[in-house]
Amino acid sequence: MAFESLSDKLQNTFKKLRSKGLLTEDDVKTALKEVKMALLEADVNFKVVKQFINSVQERAVGQDVMNGLNPGQMVIKIVNEELVELMGPECAEIDFLPGKAITVLMMCGLQGAGKTTATAKLAGALVKKGKRPLLVACDIYRPGAIKQLQINGEKVNVPVFEMGDNNSPVNIAKAAIEHASKNDNNVVILDTAGRLHIDEEMMEELILIKDNVDVHQTILVVDAMTGQDAVTVADEFNSRIGIDGVILSKMDGDARGGAALSVKAVTRKPIFFVGMGEKLTDLEQFYPDRMANRILGMGDVLSLIEKAEENIAIDEETSKDMVGRLKKGKFDYNDYLESLKQMNNLGGLSSILGMLPGMGVKMKDIEGQIDEKQLKQTEAIILSMTKEERANPKIMSLPRKGRIAKGAGVDIAVVNRFVKQFEQTQKMMKQMPGMFGKKKGMGGLGGMFGNFF
């Protein structure tokens, strides 16, 4: 699959980024090269990508690499934030007139964008919100369009106004508004024909509707699978007719949906809803963060970043403390336990390793060496020690080990092995306190892993 090879590529790239502290221009450039490919594969327009990459580069160079992340991940974190920002705002609402006043919504878009389906879905959603919508069949060209709207209208229990295909859309819209005021409808939704943005006559038709009818909101329906041309389409519709927002259709498929970013970048208009499928209830709120995540296609990296962020507060406190102790050459069972906890906070060792770029491949070998069950066992052993034993490892003796083994439910040989291992670690820690001094943040074992892999 395309995505896997992209992920592999990313992992290889990140391995090369070794600098610590601040993000260098090289780090940023290397990581952004991959981001660029990811965005292009997601169908974000080339020119939009170029601009986006440039602005991220400016922002990212010189930034502090967050604790627990490598430089590549740090760049992705910034990319993601910028994407979310660009895609926003969250849950934008369509503007409605209050009370009985009739709000007129005009739907427009290319052929096959999913307008009729989106129109019916929107009507259904409005009914749930207590509105009384009227659907209007203004597509007098496509065979079966009126019938399709009628069938869909029936399914969502919304009346459909139609005058066949012998009247102009302007007249149909006018008559529909009159009909609405008589029948107590407070929202009129015009389902217009699909049209090409370069079709002069057809674009003129929409302008004519707007000239003759008081359209409050014009909504562009965009197929989430649209390619590079999405910018041209959105730009033409927006500059010629003027749009107030967007519905992104066909998001239930596996398209990465880069068109959403392209459209947002050129129109700066909010995305109201996303269409999730054939069923007429499938209209969802738009969440910029989910969309950004989908376009970028790096969910695994992003969830690691999130977890690291969550833990940073706790982590920083304990690490500081621990680094101080280590510098004095102190390392007891309490410290060991703390390190274990830190790793568990990050979702367990195998989960962390799995999320780290470059780890996907090596996972199996590493799992053989450090298995999570063993870490659980270690935890049990330490928890079976008395406070005194934990703080002062030197007092460990055979009878104590026997008691601990019973408490942890393991053989005494296991406890023996662990104690020996602990003593070795302790020695190692004393020999290289510098390692913890340089890099603040994830101390203890977490820090060690960070440096090893």
Partner: protein, 285 residues
């Protein structure tokens, strides 16, 4: 899409990194996809090196040939048109499946063939009505059913009718469901069996209709449909807009399925057989 590359070859006096970067950008803007675009650029780089080419104009022929190779319809690709055939039209909703069927029906009829349509998309609201409208416009007959009816039963009726009237081409509209692959696969499988038992020895053609404005997802669609049934070609629709339909290049190089027809508008005559030479030459002229 005419003259797409003209700017590139007019704007550079030597082959350098900027030239390649610009070529890459143009290919991506044409929806060829970043990966395929990269492949094309890399191959050209090799050829330029091997043949000691200095002038952008001289590498033009290589680029043309590379692209034509990727888009060529193999010999015999249109043989089904000359024989008694059943053509399945497959594709997701909104790509212009029904419209394509109407256009093909009209084209075949004008060439003197007897054409019958089967409205086996019984899933989408008003799909049958829409196809009937096209059947009327093309002046051909159509066999249909009710919404929700088993598509195979529609096909069964259509086969009976095709036999009785010694029809040359039976065009079958199918449901545009991809999300429930198993269902569609079962449905097509059942229809295939039906044809094998009741209408054997006909030439079979399975065409996937793709929207020319679709980006990289078109490749996914083609890939998924090729897992459902054996594809013999595809139809690129909506090629009258500003989109370039470059994804065809990616699809052909990955799946080896050629473009056979392109749709260029909403009118019934807006369809033509795909000609790789003409298409590629058009990009450069």
């Amino acid at each position: 899409m005419a003259g797409f590359f003209a700017k590139l070859f007019g704007g550079f006096s030597q082959i350098d990194d900027d030239f390649y970067e610009e070529l890459f950008e143009m290919l991506v803007l044409g929806d060829v996809g970043a990966r395929t675009a990269d492949d094309i650029v890399e191959k050209l780089k090799e050829q330029v090196k091997e043949n000691h080419i200095k002038n952008p104009d001289d590498c033009k022929e290589f680029l043309k040939r590379n692209m034509k190779e990727k888009m060529l319809v193999p010999d015999g690709g249109f043989d089904f048109e000359k024989e008694r055939s059943v053509i399945f039209i497959i594709g997701v909703n909104g790509v212009g499946k029904t419209t394509t069927i109407g256009k093909l029906a009209s084209m075949f009829k004008k060439e003197g063939k007897r054409v019958l349509l089967a409205a086996a998309d019984t899933f989408r609201a008003a799909a049958t009505e829409q196809l009937r409208e096209w059947a009327d416009r093309a002046g051909v007959e159509m066999v249909g059913g009710k919404e929700g009816q088993d598509p195979s039963s529609v096909l069964f009726d259509a086969i009976a009718s095709a036999k009785a009237k010694t029809v040359d081409v039976l065009l079958v509209d199918t449901a545009g469901r991809l999300h429930n692959k198993k269902n569609l696969m079962d449905e097509l499988e059942k229809m295939n069996r039906l044809i094998n038992s009741y209408y054997p020895l006909v030439h079979r053609e399975n065409l996937v209709v793709l929207d020319g404005t679709t980006g990289q997802n078109a490749l996914n669609q083609a890939r998924e449909f090729s897992q459902v049934t054996k594809l013999t070609g595809f139809v690129m629709t909506k090629m009258d807009g500003t989109a370039k339909g470059g994804i065809a290049v990616a699809i052909q190089s990955e799946l080896g399925i050629p473009v056979k027809y392109i749709g260029t508008g909403e009118k019934i005559d807006d369809i033509k057989r795909f000609d790789a030479d003409e298409y590629v030459e058009g990009l450069f002229s």
